[in-house]
Amino acid sequence: MLAASIILILVSGAVLYWIRPHKRAWAGWLSTLPPLAVTVWQLNAALPLLSGAGSASGGKADLQNGTIIAEQYRWVSSLGLELSFRLDGLSLLFGLIISGIGVAVALYTHYYLEDDERQGYFYLSLFAFMASMLGLVWADNLLTLFVFWEGTSVTSYLLIGYSHRSAAARGGARNAFIVTAGGGLALMAGLILLGQAGGSYSISEIVASPGLTELDLYPAILILILIGAFSKSAQFPFHWWLPGAMAAPTPASAYLHSATMVKAGIYLLARLHPALSDHPLWMWALLLFGGTTMLLGAVFALRHSDMKALLAYATVSQLGVLTTLLAFRSEAALLAVVVGILSHALYKGPLFLVAGIVDHATGHRDLRRLAGLRHTLPVTSGVALLAALSMAGFPPLFGFVAKEALLESVYSAGEHGDAAGWLAFGAAAVTGAFFVAYSLTLLWEAFLRPASSDEASSSPAHFPNHSGATPLHHPPPSAFVAAPLILVALGTIAPFFLKTLSRLFTPAAASIAAQPVHVYASLWHGFTPVLLTSLLAIAVGILLFLNRSHLRRILSQLPDNLRGVVLFQDLLDSLYATAQISARFSQGYTLATQSGVVLLAASIPIVVALRQINLTDLFPSPLALPGAPETILILMIGVSAYLTARVTSRLGAIISLGVVGVSVTLFYVFFSAPDLALTQLLIEVLTVVLLVLVFTKLPADIRPAMQRWKQAGNVLVALAAGAFGFFLVLFNSSDAMQAALSISNYFLHNAVPGGHGANVVNVILVDFRAIDTMGEITVLAIAALGGYALLNAPRVRLPSPTPDQSEAEHPTESEGADPVAGTTRLNIDPPTDPKVK
């Protein structure tokens, strides 16, 4: 059923694409059905766990080590690669978030992208992402997990770059992809090391096997996996891709960049927590990077007045909080992780969706230009109020519960004499104050504050607007607002059903701990130092909020060079520069140098190989002299090859080259290789025709002045290539080779019985070596695409055949030809003025 759910989501994405949802009013509601079905099915499957005697331990008794459902499908068993899925407490929590938030986002998308022709494409990518994400959290095999992990990277690239005509979207998508896919590479290495070291690729077995932290490889495994998880979850120093990814359409931001994908790293850390966490390296790495991320995100959120950028930094901060919590091994910390994940999804998701509604209704989402939206968007403002207060951690909202759980757990860690606990406590308290500050900023500036006079005057006259609030283009339809409303309603009532929710939380925390846990989230802990800290943080937060303009000024004075995006761009630029230099070296300026490099490089191995064998062995012992026909052919080939190089007219060169080719064809005929002969002949004909086509348009004089040393170099390359071919053939046809390694006999004997064909060459091509041929025709197709782009490129212009122009300009120009453009004989000119260089 787990695999079936993934397939259901994938297929429904395709169906949604096919029905052209932008033309169907009911498409939004239809799109909610598949994720809703998956949600309901998960709840149903977990029913024994959720209803079991009211306590998790009762539920656990029924279910062996927390597994609710396990499925396994063979894939590549020889690599340890299996499609195995397992639903336990942790994956249930994530699965419910993914499919549940997916319901709201799917509905919302239809209204956000109303009348957009590519809405179907967005749904397709969104559902493909949802399927990858579900596969990621349900996977019980490291390699299965990795495949789905990469699936989320690719689909998120498509989603961020959805508005592909905008440079910001393309850049954001590219950066996000490079960071997450690069992290993915590190992760793959880490997972393979872990699988080899742990002796199994099954996650449940690895988690159950003790002593992984004592391995010599442990630091390497840990660092690689942390790079993967940190890059995905936007931890410092990778945090900057997340704000850049805000160029995505808002439903994607809400779904990927707050509720689900960025939590994949957190999920991975939580999943491997039992196996890897029992080591100081784990604790300090998570504590330091998580703590830095949480402070950094919280402070930088205040700097931004774009609603989505603010929310993105707030998300970064929250992800830092979760990472920090995973540094600890106490039950309370693990519970705080679980509560934090759910509460964050239930307030940050709606906030993003609200930002999208505001953007959609007013045309912008800059806090400096928004005001008084509570008059024009009352329901949306209500949603924003509840969600933002929850983000700030005001009691009795869900965010408050999460914050209490967080502070409580690190405080108790500190109380038990753990210095890390105090560090985390301090950072969390400061972060909490900033959470309050930017939540209030968002709420006040966009929704609550009365409009200032200049904004009131700038509002269009035809829009009667007594309150001075930001005018709307068009009010959002109620179904549009329904999506965030549902989520925020769930988040608001959640604190009053904590006892029920505990049945979800406790098994999830137990999965992270790999043993039963006995702690419960609660709304009220009594008057403790933690509550005092919490209240203090709120007070400080309000102070920060009141002084936000000062803070913004200070923050905006930070130099740009410190920003990750800028640094990354520098890195990319230098990478491109290096690539250009190396391309200039290896691919040369002209076709001649390029093929020279390739041929010389190919000759080197044969030289090395020939040094290791006795050359006299290669020659057949009774050295037979060639017969008359062969001798004539050899002479013809030699003479016409020489002529090709020496003749002064292009047409003459083409013809003599053709003679070489046809003579080689005759060789094949003599030695009874009709297939080769046919192929060679056809290729010859087409080549000659092509060359005639192109060369007739070129200047008639073939030989531009060439330096002596260049000529000598060309002769050298030609000799080397000839020797290379000669010895290769000799080596292959030597008696020893034929006796020892030849596979010809196998093909000859099996062509008819195994391949049903008498033409051995063809049977090899289409049957014995069909996969090779498959690769070759794929290369052909790719070459055709490249050629298509090159030949149909608008600015390609052959040098004009009038000799005065071409001879005067071209020697210098072709020297400086641009290797990026890849054309040396063709000039590429800007269309407006071909003389500008």
């Binding site: 440079a167 297939d675 046919l678 192929t679 056809l682 290729i683 004909v685 087409l686 025709v689 092509l690 086509l693 192109v694 007739t696 348009k697 391949g755 049903h756 064909g757 008498a758 033409n759 060459v761 063809n762 049977v763 091509l765 289409v766 049957d767 069909a770 996969i771 041929t773 025709i777 052909l780 197709a781 070459a783 055709a784 050629g787 298509y788 782009a789 090159l790 030949l791 149909n792 490129a793 608008p794 600015r795 390609v796 212009r797 052959l798 040098p799 004009s800 055949p801 009038t802 122009q805 641009d818 990026v820 453009a821 063709l826 590429i828 000119d829 800007p830 269309p831 071909p834 003389k835």
Partner: protein, 173 residues
């Protein structure tokens, strides 16, 4: 203007060449021939067309099918590989005998279908290169004032995916 004798030759030769290509394709499994050779043969037929009728007319008639021909060929080739999965292994040949009236017993197998895919890819790739090159060499016809022809600058305006859009190239200028 294409020569008269060439056009006359084309009338007779092109159908013959195409027939020959199909013949070579069909007999390829047992006698010299096969998808690759047949594809080149068909491309030669189209080249004759290009030379005699001009590349624009040929582009109009078969140009739209070339890119889909490449895709279709690859798809056929891959599908014939997947058909092998029914037999247990990717690309393992599946053979069955067909009784065709007039021709008698005909052995049909996935490798033959694979060869058809090869044929489609080769003919489409080669023809699209031939068309592209004849266009380029045509547009490089003597152009004394050095200004690009109107056709070229038009396509620059309307083609957003061309080299012109590459920001790195633009920055270098």
């Amino acid at each position: 203007m294409p020569e008269l004798y060439l056009r006359l030759l084309n009338r007779i030769l092109t159908p013959l060449l195409l027939l020959l290509a199909i013949y070579l394709l069909l007999r390829g499994h047992n006698l010299p021939g096969g998808g690759f050779i047949a594809g080149l043969m068909a491309a030669a037929a189209f080249e004759l067309q290009i030379l005699s009728r001009g590349h624009e007319r040929v582009r109009r008639s078969i140009g739209p099918y070339l890119n889909s021909g490449i895709g279709l060929g690859l798809a056929i080739a891959i599908c014939s590989g997947f058909a092998g999965l029914l037999n247990g292994v990717f690309f393992k040949g599946l053979w069955f005998d067909l009784h065709v009236p007039l021709l008698g017993e005909l052995a049909v197998g996935t490798p033959v279908i694979f060869d058809l895919g090869v044929f489609l890819v080769v003919v489409s790739v080669a023809t699209s290169y031939l068309l592209g090159l004849s266009r380029v060499s045509d547009s490089a016809a003597p152009n004394p004032d050095g200004a690009p022809s109107p056709e070229l600058s038009d396509s620059f305006e309307t083609d957003p995916t061309g080299v012109a859009d590459d920001s790195r190239v633009r920055n270098k200028r």
